[in-house]
Amino acid sequence: MRNVWIVARREFRHYFVSPIAYAVALFLFVVLGILFYVNVSFGVQSGDITPDGRLVMGPMVTLLLLTVPFLTMRLIAEETGSGTIELLLTAPVRDGELVVGKWLGAMGFITLLLALTWIYPVLLHRMTTPGIDQGLLLSATLGVLLMVSAIAGIGVMVSALFRNSLAAGFVTLAVILVLWVIGGLASGSSGASEIVRYLSFGDHLFDNLFQGVVDLGDVLYFVSLTVLSLFVGSQIVESRRWR
């Protein structure tokens, strides 16, 4: 367990010297700021919005979907490509500890970014009377965090497959976009489309968590997706040894 923290700490710190991390943070804050401004000013003009946390967390979902893969892409691929993986894999660290540590480091950085964007809901809260629904903000934030955890898990898993970071980034993006849109493709109520809808991100996020309802089933969905990705990720790292 201690090794997980050591790896996580190293990865977390690495984001602060990584140009990609700064680029992603810049993109996130600029786009989110513009969207926030546009939404609020149009909303005030037309008068048909309910100011709540979703005004921020909604666009945030899309932005994170597009950016998290580029925060996780280098985690293992870069080590494989540069050869530093050789020293990590000959240190007394389990493959699973390495993979979970990498994921945790990424989660730490993304959570920090998320925390910083709370400035918008706080602004919204001050601008409105009697303020925004804080419970809804919390559950939507929890939803975003859960989703990010699954995306980061998939990101680490895919990163273990590649020697090239960018390739890992785009494949991760493809995987999560598929998970994002398959729900919309499954129409009807046959067993197969039920399963496909269950696998999709969207319903788990918007049906309950973004309505202020924390449903254990949705939490379980994201947690199991994360755990599964990390498990497969460590199997991939181990299988690399056998090649």
């Binding site: 050591i6 530093t84 020293l87 894999l89 240190a91 007394p92 660290v93 389990r94 056998w242 090649r243």
Partner: protein
Amino acid sequence: MISTSGLTKVYGVHPAIRGLTFEAAPREILGFLGPNGAGKTTTMRILAGFMPPTDGRATVAGFDVVDQSLEVRRRVGYLPETVPLYPDLTVTEYLDYMGSLRHVPDLDRRIEEVLEEVALVERSESYVGNLSKGLRQRVGLAQALLHKPQVLILDEPTIGLDPAQIIEVRRLIQELGKERTVMLSTHILSEAQALCDRVLIINKGVIVAEDTPANLQAQLAGAEQLILRVGSHDAALLESLSRLPGVARVTAQPGSEELRVETSPGHDVRARLARAVVEKGFDLLELRPAGVSLEAVFLQLTQDAAGEEND
């Protein structure tokens, strides 16, 4: 301390090593000598716990490299061939990361000690990415020493170093070999000769010779050779020298003053040779034994193996 039997690793269909069986005793410096692509790195990676063998067994400090990989990795210090480092960390930060993964007690002090040992104290706050190849090599060595491992596995430890650094690193390895088992690979023969208690010569994935550097030389030097330098010589001189008892063959390099005299084993013909040259009216300028270098043994062994392969 290290023991392998029938160690085999196959990449796809290409066997990198085939049935390697060898041992290394405690406090022994074992040299692993072979041309590039002979399987040295593969063997060392297996012993360091980086990857499992396809077949055969290996134990390090009594632990199986496959079943007890973590135990092996705790006891091994490993310097890979190209030292992979994180360019965004300083030397101290890097050693702190590797040391904490190895749970080194009193890490800060240990880092200072190791930096002292590899003479890197002045560069401890430099970014690893800005270091020269030689300095990086030393960072890699420092990393391998941090946890005071019982077994050190060094893949080409002096590659890319300048002559002064090579001497320094060799001295360090010799020092380290007094307390622990060191296995090092090299394709520099003089290095194996200077450093190792025992040498394994490996070619195309199989061990072709295994002995002390001195014995390996002796193997080839069954017949001793002498170099004879004379002011001038003619065919008659060669003829009469080769008829001396104990002389097997005399050859002259065209345009050279040197004659190469091969003697039959067990004969000391130096006095006879000297007398014969002078009696024939020639000047004897020099008479010296032509030492057989490990280089010659190495070339002969690896070429023999290559020849068999082609047959």
